[in-house]
Amino acid sequence: MTSIAEETAPVTRRKRRWEVLPYWLILPTVVYLGLFFVWPMIQSFGLALRDETGGWSFSAFRTMVDDAAFGEAMSFTFLLILVIVPIQFVLAFGMALLLNAKLRGAGIFLYIFLLPLAISDLAAGIAWSAIFTERGYLNTILEGVGVIDQPHIFLDPTSRTQQVMAVATAEIWRSTTFMMVILFAGLQAIPRDYVEAAEVFGAGFLQRVRHVIMPMLKPSIQVAILLRLIFAFEVFAVVIALTGSGATVLAAEAYKWQATNQNEHVAAAYSVVILGLSLAAAAVVLVVLRTPRERRLR
């Protein structure tokens, strides 16, 4: 990893003159993150591994696993990831290429494409529930065009397929931009000559994407998928907004155990599981998308 300073302005570094000053400058950040990030994280393991009496035990994990909602939350979380991430990656990559294509009106497209970045999963859930609800906009449009002649139910609380489709749509709508931003930054770092050279030698658009852009974009692709997977374990408000209590995900269970059942031990157990899954996902992405040193282009 190159540090930010080296990457952007190699000449601005000065050595040996203000040895102590940088440490004073980073001290508040280090202290704050130590108190409010690292310590709570250690604490959550403590909470998860203790019971109400204060003794060490696995009872919180046992309560969590024995609860029927645990399996449901686990399977729904993974189902969502399997549906969302591939579609989202293709879409985000396409959007990044479109922004890179220097279309007329690129500024407006840029603004619109970026909008979802500032929208919460709760707002996305509320907006899409107005669309999917039985007396909602989707039925209005479909009936108007004549595809159906009476309102169709899109949010049947007993249909797993419908729940996945609704939540996936809202999530794809909301969080594709996030991947796009990372991929677009990567695209811009690819020297134009490389792509042009491929063009001169007769590579078509798809060939350029496949053989020049994709390999060079690999580090960005890796980060985009990695961060997307990590965030996927945190999403919950969109699920509650769209399915009511029909479906559940891991983060929603953590919320329920803390806020409704007031059991911080089980809530902490859930958060430890989420942490474990995030780190596992990160490890898998790093291994699967690893670029062997000899094949690195830069």
Partner: protein, 272 residues
């Protein structure tokens, strides 16, 4: 390549860009017209796709319902505290990363980047327990402190990137002209960095404004807007939910306009 082929490719690109734009804008448009329609129009089916009568009924019901104005105010306070503290602590650290080569700079930077691998959920639950013990449970300060922890790492990385883009020679020149280190920073580097720092502030604002999980767990009566909406989701009538959704979503339209350039350059680079 044949010119005609290129033209077809361009045309397809425009169609695709317009289709994506329509997909993104449609829900925003629909929730906006819902939020500004009459009660009758909200319960009516088929729904009006083009609003016939614009009204503030729905909005005023929402704003006059219990606790909403307070939750809006609390959301604003939390965001304000988060921005001020985050910039006050984070900007110096960002400056240090950009200007000094010191032992520990790289591990520090790596630690900041890797905080993103840890879901924020994991720190919210223990904070709730600690707050209860210390006696700051159910307060805006508690929520703000959690939001600062979430946003501080990115703030440092982004401000570092902003300062790295400003030539150090300018500060040196100021110092030869009689500024000391601090006044050179304050009078030269800071003004130049201000647009980038402001973009950073806007991004912190929107992160805090949108944050649901910690806010919902750390508050009980004194809820922020997203926490309030989430808690009342099942119980609240449709107009209430739609107007609330609009309030959550509306800042995005303004915020993105101001920081769109920075998002692509700075954030993209930092994330990578």
């Amino acid at each position: 390549m044949a010119l005609q082929q290129i033209r077809i490719g361009r045309a397809l690109a425009y169609v695709a860009a317009l289709a994506v734009s329509a997909f993104i804008l449609a829900p925003i448009y629909l929730i906006t017209i819902s939020a500004f329609s009459t009660f009758d129009a909200i319960y009516e089916y088929p729904r009006q796709l083009v609003p016939r009568d614009v009204s503030t009924d729905t909005m005023s019901l929402f704003l006059h319902s219990d606790g909403i104005v307070d939750s809006l105010r609390r959301s604003a306070i939390v965001a304000a505290i988060t921005i001020v503290v985050c910039l006050a602590i984070g900007t110096p650290a960002g400056y240090a990363l950009a200007r000094f080569s010191f032992r520990g700079a790289d591990p520090f930077q790596l630690a900041l980047v890797s905080t993103r691998a840890f879901p924020l959920i994991i720190i919210a639950v223990p904070l709730a327990v600690t707050y209860l013990r210390v006696g700051i449970d159910d307060t805006v300060y508690g929520v703000a402190m959690a939001h600062i922890a979430f946003t501080l790492p990115l703030t440092v990385l982004v401000t570092a990137s902003v300062f790295a883009g400003i030539s150090y020679e300018l500060e040196e020149a100021a110092m030869t002209l009689g500024c000391n280190r601090f006044s050179a920073f304050r009078r030269v580097a800071l003004p130049l960095a201000l647009p980038g720092v402001a973009a950073s502030a806007i991004f912190i604002f929107v992160t805090s404004w949108n944050e649901v999980f910690a806010a919902a767990i750390l508050t009980f009566r004194n809820r922020t807007l997203p926490a309030q909406l989430l808690a009342a989701l099942d119980a609240s009538p449709l107009p209430h939910r739609l107007a609330g959704g609009f309030f959550l979503l509306a800042p995005a339209l303004v915020v993105i306009f101001f920081i769109r350039k920075y998002l692509l350059t700075t954030w993209g680079r930092v994330a990578r």
